[in-house]
Symmetry: none
């Protein structure tokens, strides 16, 4: 079964509303094994909606519209569906009763525009709305299915869960039922092209597929399999995942909901080690990421955000003469910050970060994006020199990735 | 001029990514007086993209594509545009140089797939990408314009601002009939319903309109005006904004791109005061927010993320007996943290934050979400008790809002 989604609303075209409904429906349909090849957005305009509906019905078995079910004059979706399918509009008795009851509970008399919401194409079936006054509708005609859903996510989601999923599940079960499952393999410390090069021959696989995309300084590989049932799809994914992991090695840090910080916290807790940070240009971002992980307090002692030089000296014991001689952005200061954090915060592992996040403050020798990151472990201290591109917040984010990944790589190699 | 937007990416259809770019472009185009009647989303499939492009070009003067400019095999947008327009692909010398320099700065050799990104349709003009390696392109042909932009918002937005807006502004000048402008008035420290109550009579205004929405613990009011020209629209907005500000008073912290942290930094710099934080449950989030603001180093000394109790004592001088008597989550400890941060980090104003971010660690007396926030100023120390709802990261975010807003309210009242 192929589906298309049509979102209706001028506010979407104007960009006043971001269309989260279409993404939600995309996930639901793929979990039911229904392919979506096209999605469209049109304004509150009957003619353009009709044209878009006709184009969608010429290609797809199922068309789902979102929005335009309200009481106002520019809510035209159901009328337009009826027009395109050659149907009359009739009042749905259950919907009318529900709308009257909705207003009665609030002590208000419904006006004519409210009762317009009870109308539906004559061969359609109304879908109850347990949150608002706009019922949805399913119309089956000439081997095509059209489903109209309300626009507010708070009304759409319950209607999808209550009515649409059971309906589609029943429609697709049986002969041509198939399920799509996917898993995201997450990679850090390597660029998108270089990561792709390592798995290039796998990229032509058609089922399961594997597709790379860059996301916030990481590279994610989405592995997607289509199979008659969930187990078969998951087995296909695991096969391809194993091959990809073999090529990508330690660059792989996790899957799906794993974050770099959750993996670092898990490894630290497993190894019984305590962590601390001394951050200058990242300004608390690395500490913030680690403390987003539930249970971080088991391993995370704390950190110092040493923005001013006198804080680097006073709170972390970085000798003022090192700052004077090498500059605050230098491998020597990064190392002294890491050492100071480990000692003063009572940590086994500490990271010191100093750099220039910009947009100003760069020089030819020390450009914006230059960041030194020192890792202090019980055995040694090492410092990396990095030059990151992007905006101030992107430079901070990239530096935080490298810092957390240095900790992760150290922890992985313990006992190898 | 009529435009259509085509978003390209299987991850959009599957719902793994929400399309914020299309909304952003919708706003930009409407501010230029360019109407958007249709928007489409297709996957990484050349045939379906070509079909969608042809349909869009048959209706619109301008078609903007988003995404599919990356180095990988499934990035097909520029090639498909060339195919539909009957153009050859050529390497753009400036783009090729920029890509080589991008990798040189990082000390990496570009691979062939990176240099593929320098290709463009032969009659096109490349748009520089100052963040990543994917240049955009503008092609003018047969009275139609096609613009291809990269998918990551961090790359798309700078390219739109640097290249697309000036180009379209020049193309449309003198031709557009009406312009839509909008401004967002940002409010913090009051709930959505209470804020809405204060401006209820303004909400029925039809042009300009004002519409509230909750966003990340803040309430935003979008004021939108339609007028024959930009000045007239802005004057209408300013009128309504003044009325709304009169009702909302100090709850208003800024407009448009203002953030709570950027406003706090500006007020501190204006008053010549130094800031420091002592964070427990927020884990560095407040410091991170402040250091996202360019120029924060003029006022921000630094902070201590005091997660472990011995860090609260050792680094901030919180007496161990206060922790033992009142518990780490107590007004007394919040106050001692703020005092310690002000003294040890050399700040005029310091905030101490201690609480329970959850999901575990709550008790009937001290539930998850309980957060004490102390504000130390040159004159005094005050402590607020807050109970926030939501997930761990939401509790952290809400606590950071209250902390920054306490600083803002203090600074506003200086010299009143």
């Amino acid at each position: 079964m192929h589906a298309e989604i049509i979102s209706v609303g001028t506010e979407l075209l104007l960009g006043h509303t971001v269309d989260t409904n279409a993404a939600y429906l995309g996930k639901i349909l793929s979990s039911l094994g229904i392919d979506v090849y096209y999605r469209a957005t049109v304004g509150d305009n009957a003619e353009r909606l009709a044209e878009t509906l006709r184009a969608a019905l010429s290609r797809a078995d199922l068309v789902i519209t979102i929005g335009g079910l309200g009481p106002t004059m520019d809510d035209l979706t159901k009328e337009t569906i009826a027009h395109v399918l050659g149907e009359r509009m009739v009042s749905d008795p259950d919907s009318e009763r529900a709308i009257r009851e909705f207003f009665e509970r609030r002590g208000i008399e419904p006006v004519a525009s409210n009762l317009k919401q009870a109308l539906r194409p004559e061969s359609g079936v109304a879908l109850p709305n347990r949150v608002g006054t706009a019922p949805g509708v399913i119309v089956e005609k000439d081997d095509k299915i059209v489903i109209a859903l309300p626009g507010p996510p708070g009304e759409l989601i319950p209607m999808v869960v209550d009515s649409v999923v059971p309906y589609l599940d029943q429609k697709t079960s049986g002969k041509h039922r198939s399920v799509i499952e996917s898993r995201v393999l997450k990679v850090v410390g390597i660029g998108e092209s270089a990561a792709e090069d390592k798995v290039r021959d796998l990229l032509t696989s058609e089922n399961p597929t594997i597709a790379p995309y860059a996301k916030g300084g990481e590279v994610h590989f989405r592995i997607t399999a289509k199979a008659p049932n969930r187990q078969a799809a998951l087995a296909m994914i695991s096969d391809l995942e194993a091959k990809a992991r073999e090529r990508l090695g330690d660059y792989v840090f996790g899957i799906d909901e794993d974050t770099l910080e959750s993996v670092v916290v898990r490894l630290l807790v497993e190894r019984g080690l305590k962590l601390a940070f001394a951050e200058s240009c990242t300004g608390g971002l690395v500490s913030n990421r680690v403390t987003d992980v539930p249970g971080a307090s088991e391993t995370f002692q704390g950190g110092v955000v040493a923005y001013a030089n006198d804080v680097k000296s006073g709170m972390l014991g970085v000798p003022a003469e090192i700052i004077a001689r090498h500059g605050a952005v230098s491998p020597e200061v990064a190392e002294a910050m890491a050492n100071g954090a480990a000692e003063r915060l009572g940590a086994d592992i500490a990271v010191g970060i100093t750099g220039i996040a910009g947009p100003t403050g760069g020089t030819p020798e020390k450009p914006v994006g230059l960041v030194y990151i020192a890792l202090k472990t019980p055995e040694s201290v090492s410092v990396t020199r990095n030059v990151f591109g992007g905006s101030r917040t992107e430079i901070k984010m990239r530096a935080s990735h490298v810092a957390l990944n240095m900790v992760r790589m150290y922890l992985l190699n313990i006992g190898r």
